[in-house]
């Protein structure tokens, strides 16, 4: 087992499968730690997850169309108006803007945890979800090193994700061409997920562009090539809304493309995911996703949420402040494990400091019980040890919904840790969805 682990780790190092941590030296690359023991998920479980996630994404897309058009869900009192329109990710600029096939979120990565009473959705990542390249890299590294076991286990494949992604992007182009010009917009080589951007551009045969490579002329987007300017039909953007167009959003952005939103609103280029999707993965809005499913689809949610307290509600706020030592508190717009309080592990001073922040701006916080995450065997320090894990499957939505049979499994590597984020010392492992 030690040899297998060493080979798997070395293959990541040799290939430079890395990420960069925010706040560190910009040239620092870290190899994402990979554990060689795969996580096993039975096909029967996977079918439930797949159906539940597709149902969820359908409702979220309907929600996004609704809040940027008629806002029926608000008028009908299902979701309070201030939660939606007070959300920092709500984009006025998207009011009335149509998207191809009414799809706002074409690529979704939802975080799933397994607790004592089954799988639950911890959060939906609807802006620029990352990690899918590690899912495939984990699979390639593990499969080639334990090939006989893999063959015997009858595992579902994940390596056709690139084809699914390409088909999804093609379906989300305004143009009817079977070969739309697709570009993947990256913030650049110093972005933490740059490896993934390169990987995905390669998988779908797209140009990997930075903002400086694109220009907008006569309402169309072009990229600078060695043949001259070439029109772009679809942009798979891996840049946050704030930075995509300095004429509309942050004026100091050097990552974006001036005039991009103008071209987008004219329907001359498709952006995947659409701007403004962050309003649907805000942690306050998350609480209402089961209600959205009932409202738009007239179905009961297949997958449950994690119990969540909204600090904007006075009763919830009181409960949260009284029980900080038992809860995990997060900012509503946060991600990557930053800015959150792990109540049970925090010191009284840390909890007091955090409580003051929550009191000062309760609308910015939610709280959840510290979940007893499922644990999975990992090879650490030359022995098998249990570690907390979660799952991030990726759901694609074009004219149809697509998922591969696997996910990125994140592992909280430090002993006793519940934080699985790569930026906080987490690692990854392959997920084997084993056919019945």
């Amino acid at each position: 087992m030690a040899n297998i682990q060493e080979r798997v780790t070395r293959s990541f190092t040799d290939q430079g499968i890395s990420f960069t941590l925010y706040g560190e030296d910009e040239t620092t690359e870290r190899i994402i730690p990979i554990d060689a023991i795969p996580r096993i998920v039975p096909e029967s479980d996977w079918q439930v997850l797949e159906a539940g996630l597709q149902q969820r994404l359908s409702a979220l897309n309907l929600f996004l169309k609704d809040v940027y058009h008629d806002a029926r869900i608000i008028r009908d009192g299902v979701i309070p108006v201030d939660i939606v329109k007070g959300c920092s990710q709500y984009r006025l600029e998207m009011q009335g803007v149509l998207t191809p096939n009414d799809v706002y979120v074409g690529i979704c990565g939802s975080d799933i945890v397994r607790t004592h009473d089954g799988y639950r959705v911890l959060e939906d990542n609807l802006r620029v979800p990352s990690g899918v390249s590690y899912m495939i890299a984990n699979r390639r590294a593990v499969k080639s090193n334990i090939s006989r076991t893999f063959r015997r286990a009858n595992v579902m494949e994940v390596e056709h994700y690139g084809r699914y992604l390409f088909e999804t992007l093609r379906e989300l182009a305004w143009t009817q061409s079977s070969e739309p010009s697709i570009a993947l917009l990256t913030p650049g080589v110093y972005n933490s997920a740059f490896y993934e951007h390169v990987f995905l551009a390669n998988e779908i045969g797209a140009e990997l562009v930075e903002g400086q490579d694109l220009i907008v002329t006569n309402g169309h987007v072009y990229m600078r090539t060695t043949f001259g300017l070439k029109k772009v039909d679809v942009i798979y953007r891996r840049i946050d809304d704030d930075f995509i167009d300095p004429l509309v959003f942050r004026k100091d952005s050097t990552l974006g493309v001036p005039g991009l939103m103008h071209a987008y609103k004219l329907g001359n280029v498709a952006l995947v995911n659409a701007p403004g999707t962050g309003v649907a993965d805000d942690k306050s809005v998350y609480v209402y996703v089961p209600d959205m499913i009932r409202y738009y689809l007239s179905e009961e949610p297949i997958l449950a949420n994690v119990e969540t307290y909204l600090c904007r509600r006075p009763d919830d706020l009181e409960f949260v402040l009284d029980n900080l030592d038992k809860l995990v508190v997060k900012t509503v717009g946060g991600s990557g494990g930053y800015g959150m309080l792990m109540g049970p592990q925090a010191t009284p001073e840390e909890r007091n400091r955090y409580a003051a922040n929550v009191r000062a701006d309760p609308t910015n916080y939610i709280a959840q019980p510290q979940l007893q995450l499922s644990r999975s065997p990992c090879w650490l320090d030359n022995k098998v040890q249990p570690r907390c894990v979660d799952l991030r499957p990726f759901i694609l939505q074009g004219l149809q919904s697509r998922m591969v049979g696997g996910a990125f499994c994140r592992v909280a590597l430090p002993e006793g840790s519940y934080v699985v984020n790569s930026s906080q010392g987490g690692g990854g492992k392959d997920v084997w969805v084993v056919r019945n």
């Binding site: 040799d14 390169v198 551009a201 930075e210 490579d213 600078r224 090539t225 060695t226 001259g228």
Partner: protein, 327 residues
């Protein structure tokens, strides 16, 4: 392809070619430590620093006539360390290598997986190496292995890289760097070597350059076993079959440029072709028999620099209004 990706590939190849060139010079220089007089060693270090347009760490230490052999070795250690591992020196091998990798990383979707792995592995090994590790035995071996690693990379490219524009720009970068470096070094050597005493030191310097450019065997086949300054320079400039000659470099660059077709900035592209043609003509038809060679090498160096500028304007940094007609 994306102009920025083309530029990354171009620079990746340039930095690797630069690293290879410096490795070859350092290998020869460290080999000379074994048995050459201190005066020749000093000339060799001067040649390298002048070529790099850099100041040695302590200029006084370069005047080695006053030093013993032991002190000269200590100087060599310091100088080799600075030229090889010092990340603050933009001309060091480490800087060249890491910039090559950075450019490869930016255009990773345009090179083969095998090329990336090859470059990344060499980079990781280089990163773990210190001069103290290599100085104990044969320091020159490190430079030989680095050259082999770079050659392996380009060999891997030749069997695994798709022959699209990415390949063309990579090859173009390699040949332009080749041309600029060799023209510059030959110019310095032709200018400075007359200052050396004609007691064999001058011939040794040209012999060492032929060694560095892997040209001794070819020279001896053509001109016999006695190596002479003028014929050595002739060969390194005009021989079209010698991979390290200027003629070989400009011929390859010219072929690549013609293969690229019309540039987005057609005017700059035409200008690049004219400069390239002029360079080829200079070397092929106007290389002087004896006199004026230093001036000619200086002109070749200037034109090689200009060629690079024209390429960058034509394909990488062109004004979009110049390219608008191609939309």
């Amino acid at each position: 392809m994306l102009a920025r990706s083309a530029e990354s590939l171009y620079w990746m190849a340039r930095y690797l070619e630069r690293a290879e060139h410096l490795s070859l010079l350092l290998e020869v220089q460290l080999n000379a430590l074994v048995d050459r007089p201190i005066r020749e060693l000093s000339f060799g270090w001067h040649r390298i620093f002048k070529h790099l347009q850099a100041q040695p760490p302590a200029e006084g230490e370069m005047d080695s006539s006053a030093f013993s052999d032991d002190e000269s070795l200590a100087d060599a250690y310091t100088l080799a360390d600075g030229l090889t591992f010092e990340s603050r020196n933009e001309y060091s091998l480490w800087s060249c290598f890491s910039r090559a990798r950075e450019n490869a990383r930016q255009s990773r979707h345009r090179i083969s997986e095998q090329m990336w792995s090859c470059l990344n592995l060499s980079y990781l090994q280089f990163r773990e190496t210190k001069l103290t590790h290599i100085w104990q035995d044969e320091p020159q071996q490190f430079y030989i292995e680095l050259v082999e690693a770079i050659n392996t990379f380009f060999g891997m490219a030749s069997v695994s890289m798709f022959r699209d524009e990415g390949w063309d720009f990579m090859q173009l970068g390699k040949t332009i760097e080749h041309l600029q470096l060799r023209a510059n070094l030959l110019s310095i050597q032709a200018q400075d070597s007359p200052e050396l005493p004609a007691d064999g030191s001058r011939d040794f310097e040209w012999t060492s350059l032929l060694y560095a450019y892997r040209a001794v065997w070819a020279y001896q086949r053509i001109y016999g076993i006695d190596i002479e300054t003028d014929t050595a320079l002739d060969m390194l400039v005009t021989n079209s079959d010698l991979p390290n000659s200027l003629m070989y470099g400009i011929t390859r660059a010219d072929e690549r440029l013609h293969g690229l077709g019309t540039a987005p900035d057609a005017k700059a592209g035409d200008s690049a072709l004219r400069v390239s043609g002029r360079l080829k003509s200079l070397i092929e038809h106007e290389w002087p028999e004896t006199d004026d060679r230093v001036r000619m090498l200086s002109l070749i160096t200037t034109l090689a620099d200009r060629l690079h500028e024209r390429i960058a304007s034509a394909w990488f940094n062109y004004h979009t209004e110049n390219a608008a007609r191609q939309v």
